[in-house]
């Protein structure tokens, strides 16, 4: 592997929402053009395009985006990796630069998911009888509820503590103009919302939205040649893991072990520990999931997530703010875009451009995604002033 560090020199995301009249290509292209402009380059400077999209994985979405922003004949790599799709696309670009193959690449993540309804567990019976509702539920709200309740079994985590995650992330999103929603949701509203899959109410489930995010990656020498030191965010760690065998993962997707393994690798690669992080964007696909990842990422000890919530340590202004963007719960979760959009949030803080929700003096941030099936990707980023 080449020794050159890789930098995010330009990054953008669109305001997440519902865009019935727009093509997936136009959504991806808008973020891509934004990232090119931010990096002060054009499509003619880009040597390869990494395109992340899940729901249209067979649709050559990367090429469709090229047709909107410039067909220069460069390689396009279409990536699908469940909810880690965007992060995996970005990471493939990172790897290619580290390998010395390219100096400047573009990564884009895009998804049209508004109105998709509940994911997982549905669909027609392939043959015989569909097991949904007979052999438990395979719906995503249930899978992550069961993961949360396993934490409750071990540590006594309460419905109210799970619900507080959603109160926090919705609060954070009121300061993020690019979030899908900017609405406060007090505790009683979160707990009193329609119960989907106990303990996850509707307000504790991520928002299905359309969205896109993109970034330009550069080798260190290219970044310096272009004089982008003041905005370049260094990728200190880029990690991808899958779920190793565990005794229960045949019937209970294990989002914990792959996250723990990824975190360990990422901290080693970056040469930092959780105590060095100024902010975290983690995969709050459901409120229950965020609780698990506090411990998986080492933000607190095992069994201490409930205490972290009670102390409001992960709120803005707290010891380790988590999901200042509003997270998947309120910013929204356009699957293929999520793993780049969370790095957009980090980059804004690390560059001092996060507006009302800015973490003062932020130098190091961690972005985490889980793709059920299962995989985990973690990136640790360092700001230009660090």
């Amino acid at each position: 592997m080449g020794s050159e560090d890789v930098y995010i020199t330009g990054i953008d995301m669109i305001k997440f929402g519902k865009f019935l009249d727009r093509s997936i290509a136009s959504l991806g292209a808008e973020a891509a053009l934004g990232a090119l402009d931010d990096a002060q380059v054009t499509i003619n400077d880009i040597e390869a395009l990494y395109s992340g999209n899940l729901m249209m994985a067979a649709g050559m979405v990367g090429q469709q985006i090229q047709q909107e922003i410039g067909q220069t004949g460069i390689p396009v790599i279409n990536v699908a990796n469940a909810c880690a799709t965007g992060a995996t696309a970005l990471r493939e670009g990172y790897i290619a630069i580290r390998a010395g193959l390219y100096d400047t690449v573009l990564a884009v993540g895009v998804e049209k998911l508004a109105g998709a309804g509940m994911l997982g567990g549905g669909g027609g019976a392939p043959k015989g009888i569909h097991p949904e509702g007979l052999l438990g539920s395979g719906s995503m709200p249930c899978v992550f509820a069961e993961a949360g309740m396993a934490h409750a079994k071990e540590y006594g985590t309460t419905f109210e503590q799970f619900a507080q995650i959603s109160v926090k992330n919705h609060h954070h999103s009121t300061m993020n103009p690019k979030a899908r929603y900017q609405i406060e949701t007090p505790l009683e509203e979160v707990m009193g919302a329609e119960m989907i899959s106990y303990p996850n109410t509707k307000l504790m489930c991520s928002a299905n939205v359309d969205g896109s995010a993109a970034c330009v990656l550069m080798s260190e020498k290219e970044m310096k040649r272009r004089g982008l030191q003041n905005q370049a965010v260094k990728i200190r760690a880029s990690v991808l893991t899958t779920d190793p065998w565990t005794d229960r993962d045949e019937v209970m997707p294990d989002v914990n072990t792959c996250t723990r393994n990824a975190a360990k690798q990422a901290y080693e690669m970056a040469g930092v520990g959780p105590e060095d992080l100024d902010l975290v964007e983690l995969h709050d696909c459901f409120a229950t999931a965020e609780v698990l990842h506090y411990e998986n990422l080492g933000l607190c000890g095992d069994g201490e997530a409930g205490k972290l919530i009670d102390e409001r340590a992960t709120w803005i202004g707290g010891k380790i703010p988590v999901n200042l963007s509003g997270g998947l719960l309120s910013k929204g979760h356009p699957i293929g875009a999520t793993g780049i959009a969370n790095q957009f949030e980090l980059a804004m803080h690390l560059r001092g451009q996060a507006g009302k929700r800015q973490v003062e003096g932020a130098k190091i941030g961690l972005a985490h995604v889980i793709g059920l099936g299962t995989c985990c990707s973690i990136h640790i980023l360092e700001g230009p002033s660090a």
Binding site: M118, G121, G122, A125, G128, I129, P131, E132, G133, L134, L135, G136, S137, S139, P141, C142, A145, E146, A147, M149, A150, A152, K153, F159, E194, M195, I196, S197, Y198, P199, N200, W245, D247, R248, E250, V251, M252
Partner: protein, 136 residues
């Protein structure tokens, strides 16, 4: 259409005589237990190591959720549960014999696996034998 109830999953065995039971497979190399034998052991990569055995009908409740919003045609609420079985093996299915109320369900409680005819038939009208997690 079959005149006998079909098995809802391959690991639920319905003998001609005697009670239905769940069958697991244990890896003779590393002891991993699966409900669905793979080409090689998913834990150690061993080949031809899966040995079938009867899973216990006793265990403890590892986790659950109560489903209030499901897909069209699925009755709600119902309890989705996961249990650790005595002697190894983990199963997921509906929990019956208890109210779908979080106050009534105790994590870690003793459970047993029970069997019965599923309340739905398939498109051809076949009946299915299914299994439940039931408070012991």
């Amino acid at each position: 259409m079959s005149d006998q109830p079909l098995s809802i999953v391959p690991f639920l065995k319905v003998p001609e005589s005697g009670d239905p039971y769940l069958e697991g497979f244990k890896c003779s190399e590393c002891g991993a237990i699966t409900l669905k034998p793979r080409m090689a052991c998913a834990k150690c990569g061993g080949r031809d190591t899966w040995e079938p055995f009867k899973l216990s009908n006793k265990g403890t409740l590892h986790t659950f959720s109560i489903i209030y919003r499901a897909f069209p045609g699925i009755d709600v609420p119902f309890v989705s549960a996961i249990a650790d079985l005595e002697g190894g093996g983990v199963v997921k299915t509906n929990m019956n014999g208890i109210e779908p109320d979080p106050e009534k369900i105790t994590l870690g409680m003793d459970i047993e696996i029970t069997y019965g005819i599923a309340p739905r038939k398939d498109a051809e009208g076949n009946e299915y034998m299914t299994y439940y997690i039931t408070p012991a």
